[in-house]
């Protein structure tokens, strides 16, 4: 058998054109692109044909048309004669209201439950675990409908409203004492204490929750300005203290003084101006309440469901974050002689936060997206008033759904851009 002598050539090896990786990859990508563009083209052709056949208008001109329907909660002035563009704005603000309030309370509740699960107290840890398991394994829409239909629907009419506050609790304790057959004097103590506390300021009934309304007096804007100055001052102080620490090694309680600035400056301004702030307390007159602000039951149900649901997920995030800090970190800090509060503030929290913050933002995003379930109970959020009512009236499905999706998508993208920035900043600089 004759062996062929291998040919030795200079330069890169010659391969057939169809085996050239560059050619192949370009070829496949061109095909994929053509398929995608072909589909898009077919969709566009079909859409225009269908729209012509159905005789509905297209384009964004409808945003200027008169909406003609009412909205039961508006943060900005709105009437039936306003345009669909205004409806969009009202819905967007209602969505943002739920998102912001929901995120704040879900964070607080989530941290409490997450830390409860880590508690050395057996009972509290178990209760935290039971809460998380129960809430996480039930669909959110189920919970929203439960709060709306079953709980708030079962509330009494306004004239029998349930008051939420210290007084009803004290009265309940008094009643319990009376029920146990304890001496009348002890019962009387609780009752008189309840009378001394006075009627509660928060009421709940089947038409929603009634809260005291803050009335801003003359010159209240100065308090807001003072608050802004306080925040800026606190940040400036922090930077200065940090520089000094780096330069000289001397510490300075910038945190406490900053807090004093943020809280103290507005409070001082408030008193300097003679307290231009008062609360209008709700009062039952006949069949309904006079004064105070009423939160519609849809808002209350949606908020309660979203907060309790998201809090269960945040609790898991918090627990994971704290457990992610190795035990050696706190042991080493103890060995250095740091106090418990200092260990928590300087060793545990910063390291746990690095783990907690990215999934926490994810939960905020989920809460915002989940707020679109409002449509199921009729809370007028962006989705309900725009993709719901406006779509029904104008039949411009493509434009309306595209706008709605674009809003949620931009919220998501902005958040993830911020998150990437935060992650890049917080990344451990390893060797």
């Amino acid at each position: 058998m004759e062996l062929r002598k291998p040919e030795v050539k200079d330069g890169p090896p010659r391969v057939a054109l169809r085996n050239n990786p560059k050619v192949r990859s370009t070829f496949y990508q061109v095909i994929v692109l053509l398929v995608v563009l072909g589909c898009a083209y077919a969709f566009a052709v079909n859409a225009s044909a269908n729209l012509r056949a159905q005789g509905f208008a297209s384009g964004f001109g409808f945003l200027g048309n008169t909406a003609g329907f009412g909205i039961n909660q508006t943060l900005i002035a709105y009437s039936e004669t306003d345009s669909y563009g205004r409806v969009f704005l009202v819905g967007l603000l209602n969505t943002l209201l739920v998102a912001v309030v929901g995120c704040v309370f879900a964070t607080v509740l989530g941290f409490i439950i997450g830390l409860a699960r880590l508690s050395p107290n057996w009972l509290i840890a178990r209760l935290g675990g039971a809460y998380v398991e129960t809430i996480r394994n039930l669909p959110l829409l189920f919970q929203i409908l439960f709060w709306y239909l079953a709980v708030l629907g079962a509330m009494p009419a306004p004239r029998n409203s349930i008051g939420l506050g210290l007084q009803p609790i004290l009265m309940a304790i008094g009643d319990a004492f009376a029920g146990l057959g304890l001496p009348a004097a002890t019962v009387e103590i609780w009752r008189s204490l309840a009378t001394w506390v006075g009627p509660p300021d928060v009421y709940i009934n089947n038409r929603g929750v009634i809260l005291p309304q803050p009335l801003l007096g003359e010159g209240f804007e100065w308090v807001a300005i003072a608050f802004g100055v306080g925040v800026i001052g606190a940040f400036a102080l922090r930077i200065v203290a940090r520089r000094r620490l780096d330069a000289t090694g001397e510490t300075f309680a910038a945190g406490w003084i900053g807090l004093a600035l943020i809280v103290g400056l507005p409070v001082a301004t408030l008193y300097a101006l003679g307290v231009p702030l008062s609360f209008e307390h709700p009062q039952l007159r006949g069949f309904n309440f006079v004064g105070g602000v009423r939160l519609i039951p849809e808002l209350v149900a949606l908020l309660v469901a979203l907060i309790t649901y998201t809090a269960a997920f945040i609790a898991e995030v918090v627990r994971g974050g704290v457990l992610a800090v190795p035990r050696g970190q706190s042991e080493a800090a103890q060995a250095l002689g740091l106090r418990r509060s200092v260990i928590l503030r300087l060793i545990i929290v910063p390291q746990a936060l690095r783990v907690i913050v990215p999934p926490l933002t994810n939960q905020y995003l989920n809460l915002t997206k989940n707020s679109s379930l409002a449509v199921a109970i009729g809370y007028p959020d962006l989705f309900a008033v725009f993709a719901g009512t406006t779509l029904n009236q104008t039949h411009q499905a493509i434009e309306i759904i595209a706008i709605t999706m674009a809003v949620y998508l931009s919220i998501s993208l902005i958040t993830s851009v911020l998150m990437n920035w935060y992650n890049a900043r917080m990344r451990l600089s390893e060797r």
Binding site: W122, L145, L149, S372, A397
Partner: protein, 377 residues
């Protein structure tokens, strides 16, 4: 003279102090150690006292177990406080399970459930052999059989339109379709996202991030109102099928991210080894990388199935009546309008959803522990 002392045998260790062991130690350290701890325990007991006895009273002790109409569940008729009105659930049970699927054809639904369970259970137990065959039967053959069984119009089975479907049937059909549809879609887009071809990668990133960035409700609206406009006008598109398309796209995007995590967990050496053996892209992925990657992400997949299962409830917003939708419809029945009807219905549906989700999450934990053994040294 001996001046040093060397202990010849070890002395037995002292028992731990009594107060850290047993019931007493448990009480002392985990419940009543210190003021704060005691206060927390009392608070916990108070919470239990407020929640548990009323719940038990409602669900069992005060509950009504037999009856035929609302009058059997009224406190006036019974002369005692009334808990859950279970006859309401019994009366509506068929509706909760099948929707308005014709009664004479319900055996087809039951047969489908039985087939599904018979194929699923051996698949979930690791020790049962013939996994590949089982998987092909469950993910490949079963959907086809189930489709013809439920829809009918073949082999002399009468056609049942999807508008008669409802209740748990719809919940499970949507969950299952989204589940088997999302896996191939997710694998495809995860591979695309990890691909070296820039245009393919970009398209996949856009697809995945788009569906992940919008709420499911908008996806369902998109599928219901917008998708028919994009298709030729003479195509008749079933409402349930539209929702299924939306759910599959949505679930596929989330699945793509799960699979991507698995692909990243496969060590580089595996890719390089496969390339060195002369395997092409598809063989390398199919025989070497994906089997490992998918194994890593089984727990994450089960978790996203739980989310999928819970999210099926959203279809009631586009007027497809799954279990929650049927529940809501049943509340409107004046024959059963009592003060406890709502709570009873929610208790029933809550137990149903909880049991399935909880079982799935326990299974995810179990597989996680089982699969962990390879990585743990």
């Amino acid at each position: 003279m001996e001046t040093t002392f060397v202990r010849r045998e070890l002395i037995a260790p002292l028992p731990p102090p009594l107060a850290t062991r047993g019931l007493l130690g448990f009480l002392r350290w985990r419940l009543f150690g210190g003021v704060l701890n005691t206060v927390l325990t009392l608070l916990g007991l108070l919470i239990l006292l407020v929640l548990v006895p009323p719940a038990l009273r409602f669900l069992l002790i005060d509950a009504v177990w037999s009856g035929s109409s609302r009058t059997d569940c009224l406190a006036e008729t019974l002369g005692r406080p009334v808990g859950a009105c279970w006859p309401f659930v019994f009366a509506k049970f068929r509706q909760f399970m099948y929707g308005f699927y014709p009664e004479s054809e319900q055996w087809r639904v039951n047969l489908t459930y039985a087939l599904g369970v018979a194929l699923l259970i051996p698949l979930l137990i690791p020790r049962v052999p013939y996994k590949a065959l089982n998987a092909v039967a469950f993910f490949g053959a079963f959907p086809v059989v189930a489709f013809f069984l439920l829809v009918g119009d073949v082999f002399g089975l009468p056609h049942v339109e999807t508008r008669y479907w409802g209740g748990m049937l719809v919940t499970l059909v949507i969950t299952f379709t989204a589940l088997i549809g999302s896996i191939p879609l997710g694998v495809l887009f995860a591979l695309g996202r990890a691909s070296k071809l820039p245009i393919v990668r970009m398209l996949c990133v856009i697809f995945v991030e788009f569906w992940r960035g919008v709420p499911l409700v908008t996806v369902l609206f998109f599928a219901t109102y917008m998708l028919p406009l994009f298709l030729p006008g003479n195509w008749r598109f079933d409402p349930l099928a539209r929702v299924l398309v939306g759910e599959v796209l949505f679930a596929g995007a989330y699945m793509a991210e799960v699979v991507r995590g698995g692909l990243q967990a496969v060590p580089r050496g595996q890719y390089e080894g496969a390339t060195a053996l002369g395997l092409g892209y598809w063989r390398m992925m199919g025989f070497v990388v994906l089997p490992q990657a998918l194994k890593y992400v089984i727990p994450a997949m089960v978790n996203s199935f739980i989310a999928l299962f819970k999210d099926t409830t959203l279809v009631l917003i586009v007027s497809i009546f799954d279990l929650l939708g049927q529940l809501r419809a049943a509340f409107a029945d004046p024959n059963w309008a009592t003060p406890v009807t709502l709570f009873t219905g929610f208790a029933f549906a809550g137990i149903f959803y909880f049991l399935i989700s909880f079982a799935m999450s326990r299974y995810a934990l179990y597989t996680e522990r089982r699969l962990d053994t390879g990585a743990r040294r």
